[in-house]
Amino acid sequence: MNFFNFFLLFLLTFNCYAQDKIKLLDTLNSNFFKVELLKFYKEKYNVFNSNLNINTSGQTKLSKTIYLEYQEEFLEKIKSDNFISDKSINDYAQNLLLEILEKNKLNKKDYKILISKDPEINAYNSGDGTIVVNFGLFTILDSEDELVFVLCHEVSHQELQHVKKEVESFVNLQTSEEIVNKTKEIKKLKYNRSRAANTFLLKLNYKNYFHRRKKEIEADSLGFYFYLKTNRDLKKSTTLLEKLNESNKEKNSLTVQDYKVLFETGAYKLKNKYFEIEKSIFNKYDYKPAYQIDSLKTHPDCSTRIKKIEKFIKNQNFRSASSEGFLEIKKNADYQNLYNLYLSGEFGICLYETLKKYKGSNDLFYENLIFLTLVDIKKAKENQTLSRCVPQVDYVYNSESLNRFITLMNNLKSSDLEILIQKFK
């Protein structure tokens, strides 16, 4: 942890001490943690790579390429401090995972759990026994049981060896006679070559995505079985999926009036033109990529998954219970998640989400975070690098509220930002 981050952590913790105490995760041992983690995974990958044993040499080479590329990417994540080093949260997560493994009599030594700083609501299994939970997931969880269900789902992927099987089937497909012959055949075509190649690729991808969706249902099914053994509230499996289904929808928004309340003072007024979004000349956004994404989603819809799980919930229920450890993480999850956004340099989104939380709350932690992000946004603006830390206006994917925020950030002058910085200092 560098001095600057330590200072920020101190600042945020200290200033919020007067109100209900907010304790951010400890990052003091991050360097040691990183070194140890790198060592662990390098050794693990060395053993794994030396044991790769696939039928033909061509296939082995391709498998190795896939694994090596993934491993390199994972090591890069460790190097760039992507994983939380705080001992208490890591111990908590590891114990929760052990509970699942023990109750299901699974081999504990194959598994490791890591918490990523990533604010995206997600978790994944990397195929080598590592389960990664993004910190963002904690912001939507209301019960430890929901987290346990997520872990059960990821453990199932591991137990079913989905990653390994997927690599194998992919390698087999790549080196299959079907692909080789079809490629030769298409190459010989004088006309309509691209259409033939696209059609064939599409067919292969449909097949591949179909299998991956099937794997998700399998993981839900086995995951639910593992979850059953933990004696936790079965209904939490479906409440989690419902929340995941809703997690893409933006909650809360910021209006022009909100900004006036948040930013204006007796002497300082925001100019109305700062909020003016240039009108697009386009009336309809109907871009269709060559591959129809809806048909190629790797995961089945949450509603389908809920229906499948609900069949097993009848007459089996336990009361939901969350440990002290979970409640402690959950208590500060929103703060920590915003702080993670700040640390990752996503100053725009960090400020936008913090302002939404701050609106009406006047929470000191948020106030300090607003100050910090404004300082960095001003710096970026002066260096003409604002677009590196504030997203772009997007009429398709962004909400009107987010586009308004982006427009405002772009239009504020350095002098305006300085006034706002002083207000939140």
């Binding site: 070559r193 893409n248 240039e278």
Partner: protein, 504 residues
Amino acid sequence: MKKIVLGVLLIFTQFVVAQMVELSKLSSGKLYDSDVIKDEKNNIKGYFLLFESDKIQKETYILEYVVLDENLTKVTNGYIEEMKYSSLLLKADKITVDLTLYNDKLLIELNDYANEGGKFYRRYRTLDLSNNKMSDIFIFRNGKVEIKPEFDRKLKNYNDNQTDEIVGVNGVGLIAVKEGKDDAGKDKYLVCLDDNFSKKWKTTYEVAKNNYGFKNLEFLNSSNNFIVFSNHYTKGGYYKPVNSIVAFDAITGKLNFEFLFSNQDKYTHKVVDSYINNEELTLLGNYSKKSDYGFINDEENLGLFKIILNLKTGKILEEKFLNWTELSSKIEINKYGEIKKEGFVFVHELLQLSNGKTIAVCEAFKGSPVTTNNIYFLEISEKFSFNKFLVAEKFRNKFPGTSAFSSDIKEFGAFDYMDFQDLDDDEFLFYFRDNEKKSKNRNQNTKFGIVSYSNEEFNKKQLNLKTDISTIFAYPAKKGYIMLIEFFDAKNKPSQIRLEKVNM
């Protein structure tokens, strides 16, 4: 916002496509051409890209077009069938696009393009922005619009396989310009077309050769009530030193007047920009000593002019001239617009402000060898006299062994001045390549220059695009923004495109 999923790590998505290199190569498109979509104030509102997708038979291809909005979000795409000429003598390398935004539509001019032969076989399509519907190909030939014409592309049929010019006129529609005599040797005329290509009106602009020769019109400006063309006479296949302005009533097509620039026996005029305000047309340009073919004489360039005409009658309401010598107390410039040690003045822009003032953007250059030098930003008073200036000193670009007229230097993009953005309320941003004045190797000193005009003041800013890990290219983008395209040195790091608001 991005779709969020929970589950097994998606490490294979990229491989599914990336590993099938061979197949992917066969299916991916090749970029033919792209163009920006600009509004009437010269601000970028989107981008149009054209890719070759497939060859379906001899000389016939399926092309994919992709439209992006000003924020680079994909708006629409589609596939069109186009011919691309190929023979032993001439083979088109690609198909080019040139866009005009008018009445919620894009007029798309398509041309075959050969590296050795330039553009040929012009034809058009329109893209209706209300429903993103792409029209069939259409051409205006022998005085008639032909939709989905059958092309018989032999060089002997060259003229029958391409269109006369069609202009997209905001507030009016499409205006087809009958450029030559028709089959019966009849008049030259304009035809105004509605959305279904039906004739709204037709007006004859030339019955026979007059004393100056034949008219050769080029669209200049329009409003809901008037359409204005500049005209350069030709005789015996050569341009003549006679230029005029021809104005029509946009509703009826009636020819309102032809205005011949004064003293054409002594001077040649070039309109750089024009403005229509109700019934007044303002022409802003520069003039030189008369040249034989009626093009501005780079080495005897005398100054700037402002002429205001009544659009109904053609009557001169105001005519003012500003000679370069008026600047000589501030800039070392002679009466022919030659700046000491820098070269002659090329006028890129003449922008009219709401208070009657004019902004002139000029770049010093030499035609032989082609050399571009500093850029001068001038503020000209309402009375058309010189007020103040800002000089943007920049790297001297010299292309040894070359020789060209200013118009060719402009066409081939060899000037450093790039473009301007109109920010409203008499505020502008001007962009140019701004390599260091004293640098020996311009590639290692990539700079991007911006000059703003705001509150009647010029200000200059220079962006350093050099980084230790990447190469950055900058271009004007949507109103008030620049586009930065960054190519990273690291092999696996994909290039980034960002839009950055300009802070002045």
